[in-house]
Amino acid sequence: MSLYVVSIGGTGARCVEATIHLAAAGLFDKEKIQILFIDPDESNGNLTRTRETLKTYQDCRSAIAQSGTPTPWMQTPIEALEVWSPFHGSINKSLGSYFNYESYQFNNPALGHLFDVLYTQGERDAELDVGFRGRPAIGSAIMSQVKLDTSSQEPWRTLIQDIEQELNFGKFPRIFICGSIFGGTGASGFPTIGRLLKNKLERSGLRDRVKIGGLLMLPYFQFSVPAEQDPGDIYARPEQFLLNTEAALRYYQAQPIFDSIYLLGDREPASVSQFSIGKNTQKNDPHFIELYAALAARHFLLQAETEPVVLLSHKDEQQVTWDDIPEKAAVKANLSNAVRFAFLWTANLVPELNRGKSNIGEFQKFAPWFSRFFKPKGLFVGGRGLPDLNDEGQQDVIQQVNAWSISFLRWMWWIHQSGGNSRSIQLFRHTLFIERDGQVRQNTDDFPRLVIGADRLEQAKEATPQSLKEQLATQADPQPGAVGLATALYFLCKP
């Protein structure tokens, strides 16, 4: 069944980023994931990064789409609808202008007075194209103006149509809404959008066939407001996060919108180094709690029956290990496969292929696996049907897979860096594949030690780059070209 993910605000975007990375590792099924991003701040750094991650995923996936090797790598098609902002096309992006506040003085003074009671002038006039500035009250008012019954309002129309079409074909799509409980956009959009979608489905008589799940991120990061920031200005205040959270949880307890709701948080919030009200500077580093967010989406999608309450915690306060990961066996196997492949591809295979481009005749003698996938040079050496390494198409595939590999490894590195001072993330030995400056390490000697938690017997059986390349060299009838090389190597990197 397909999954429709509604990502609200910057935190929602980061949860989606994690979902994309897990989908790349084959942790979702072959059914489509469709994403709708909701953010009044269309240039939000977190949103921008997630869209870049998605593009990298899609480019890589389309490059390898024709492979016939049965791996779960990138088996999930992921599409995104256009980003929805309530201010799209508007010149003035303030609460007051959105509701035509100025006209109330003449047309409806009582409504104008009510507006004054509910919102300060600062809140009324604040520019909201940077988001709702940590004020759910502002966001809720604006988000509630979404008219799902209006046929022309995109991308809602496409979203509803796609869901209805799947239902007509006898499928049972699921909707998963994710956002933060403590900020502005997520806190306001989450209940509002959830309620609007639920009501729409009920009006259409489809509610019983579509499960709605929700992921609420509790406060997991904090930041310091610079001293020079005007205290009268409208911006998110971290000291109010917990208060907002408490108020929101009371609301959700009373509102039966969701079939399953996931709450995730971390009692040691990560520090965000750079204060930002919004736009492209609001870009937080990936956090391990987002890995759990993606696993929550996976759990919601793949469980036959949704559970109303799901509890999870990690056993040791000072570390997060594989034992703390739900469905450990599958998650560990798939993530390990992806990390091993990504590292070997970008640190070893790509430099090799770049070296070989200029002198294939010599290179093929020192890289026996090469002539399995690419046309060799020389007399009587065959190679019919094999593409040339220097073909533009082949080079594009190599670079697209490389781009995805680097993106994935960096995300995994940041996940491991996010534990804070008193806690470590013990899934992979992340310093073995990414340097402090964010570059991929070129030394693959420690390849067998990438995965933490492999016992000594497992490590002894671990493949080395040499043995994996020897297996590549003896592949029987592999798919030709860079696609064949990548998918064969991905298959061999299975732990």
């Binding site: 070893n348 070296r355 020192f366 020389g378 080395t464």
Partner: protein, 156 residues
Amino acid sequence: MVWDVIRILSVSIVGAIAMFLIQPWLYRSGILAITDVDVDNWIAEKYFSGAGIVFATALAATLIWYLIAVRTRITSSHEVSPLRLAWALLLFVPIIGIGVALFFFNGSNEALLSLALFYVLDIIVVYWFSTAISSPGLLKFVPPGSFTVRHLIGLK
């Protein structure tokens, strides 16, 4: 790895048959006539000793190469190219064996040229061809010409 060893053994056996059965027969039968010495005595006292040295040195070089290849840890192609030098240096072992065989175990001036040619052919078979088709793993194409040979005979 097992098949590599089988290939080394097979080629060595073929080489041994050529060196210790076929080549002597060519001299005994008169196809390669030598008249300055008694052929049977020459074969028994000189030829077999000389051929034995050439065969032993070629086989030893093959086995040393194989051990080097099996034990070498390789992660990328630029680590492979220096091993070509190792292979070439090992070639000197049977070449020196030929020198020793011809200098100390010739005994017939008329046989000198044919013997030299046979010994060269023998180390082409026992050393070059053997290593060309049995070098393991990522070093399989290091011996010169092995890429073409392996593709020609379907051992790529």
